[in-house]
Symmetry: C2
Subunit: 119 residues, 2 copies
């Protein structure tokens, strides 16, 4: 950065308060989505679903967890609208809600991996 680009005095941009912010309701929804995803085991489920739709028993087997445990995690992700589900005969299938979520998960993990020590 060139020295002339540095503003030593704090020039307040009066337009800053006019930034086009979403409504409080949207911010609260977004925060709830982050909290629902903000757990390593639920995040791992989102990563598995980023590969395509899966049924609950398939996910439970892959995770080495009880069906009820995985089912509860998926319900939480579903309440936060991070995943969608379809019932077909006896099976309930889950998938990521849409491309926003797959992009979000990818960007998050890429960022987290950048300088997390690999053990």
């Amino acid at each position: 950065m060139a020295l002339e680009d540095i503003t030593l005095d704090c020039v307040h941009d009066t337009a800053q308060s006019d930034v086009d912010l979403p409504t409080d309701a949207v911010l609260q929804t977004a925060a709830s989505m982050l909290n629902a995803a903000g757990d390593a085991s639920r995040l791992r489920l989102l990563l598995r679903l980023a590969q395509g739709r899966r049924c609950v028993s398939e996910l439970a087997e892959a995770e080495g967890e009880k069906l009820a445990t995985v089912s509860a995690r998926l319900k939480l992700l579903h309440s936060a609208r991070l995943v969608s589900r379809q019932r077909e005969a006896k099976h309930v299938y889950y998938e990521l809600a849409d491309d926003h979520i797959s992009c979000l998960v990818r960007d998050l993990l890429n960022h987290a991996a950048e300088d997390t020590p690999q053990r």
Copy 2:
């Protein structure tokens, strides 16, 4: 979806457990990032920073909050590596850590806005 595409029996994909998952350390880092961002007031700061770097006093004024309050929120976002900061003379400037974070914030808010009731 054509009927022939529907698998009524649950065919377990044995490769599913081999999905290329990140390490536990990366998953924990990612979960911490989500928790740091998972609050409406901290999310609003990230949105303001998505417009470009800002100094703490500028953000406090835009938020109508005390400097110490905004400073504490920014510290939390910085600890989770969601924002970076530079000190210049008496001012501390914050900006989003990188493009992963700006994409993440954009995707999240677009998704949250999709069917949140607008009041």
